[in-house]
Symmetry: C2
Subunit: 149 residues, 2 copies
DNA sequence: CTTGAACCTCTAGTCACTAGAGGAATTAGG
DNA sequence: CCTAATTCCTCTAGTGACTAGAGGTTCAAG
């Protein structure tokens, strides 16, 4: 288990080899000792940490959040309010994204269901994309403070 | 309406000024004529196209897809099968992402609901991330993790 | 000892923008 | 016409989280 090569660590963690090296380069993962020839040799601590990161990434946490959570878990006496706050923020973000995607899904469904498989000129897909151009929906411009059309 | 500045086009389309220039640079949007001093002057066709692009982006289409859809709409006699195919692929992608995010949401909910607001050592948030036993990845030799995003 | 897989560093590319520097043009008011 | 404010210009570089490839070195098995 100790003295793993990067390939073995990759297989055991499910994180690709270049990604492990990338994590090291951005200080997400401690640089391991090297073999006499200069190749990385990992211990079980690295594997544990990588799995933590991978699990967190699967849940959509950013690497900065995971760094913060990892730092917290190194100080077990502290209050876990910060960890809770990070997780709740992530939950809200995920819920917001689900809501957005469901609206998108509804519109895409309308699009493809109305497609009569004719020619482009009558195509609902393209028409819908063009038509909605007439609606000035949720205006998020914010780039020109003076006047708006 | 004709001879808009880039700022006005931005306000009317909801697409930010640097993004409009970026679209021009990657040939998503025709380069407009210039004023004597070299500033861009847009017509209504540009506005229509930009709104098409923005709407498509809101639905999650990639710029390559939108380029293809635009090219199709310039040839109204063609079959719209290609447009339909692009939209259906997008719909599937969105549905796949929703499913992934809902699994993520469930796990995040379990996380924060079990947090007892004590100290880090007992924190469910951090514990859950560390518990790779419950993790979905069994691929000990595989090299292709799938991601929820 | 040879072979071939796995490893090394480094650069650059991905997607769709965003930020900022440093300067030129335009517009509104006087 | 002059000035000041605003908008515009090009260009480079940065974002997040990797991924791909070149060109070379080390390791483990036979």
């Amino acid at each position: 288990m100790s003295d793993m090569s990067i390939g073995r660590l990759s297989a055991l963690s499910g994180v690709k080899v270049p990604t492990i090296r990338y994590y090291e380069s951005i200080d997400m993962l401690d640089a391991p000792p090297r073999s006499p020839g200069g190749q990385r040799r990992y211990g079980p601590g690295h594997l544990e940490r990588l799995r933590f990161i991978r699990h967190g990434r699967e849940l959509g946490f950013g690497l900065d959040d995971l760094r913060a959570l990892q730092d917290l878990s190194a100080r077990p006496d502290q209050s876990c309010d910060e960890a809770d706050r990070i997780a709740r923020r992530q939950l809200q973000d995920v819920e917001r994204r689900i809501a957005g995607l469901e609206a998108v899904r509804a519109e895409l469904l309308r699009m493809v269901e109305r497609c009569s498989h004719g020619v482009v000129d009558e195509c609902r897909v393209i028409q819908t994309l063009s038509e909605h151009a007439l609606c000035v929906h949720h205006d998020q411009a914010g780039q020109t403070p003076s006047k708006a059309g």
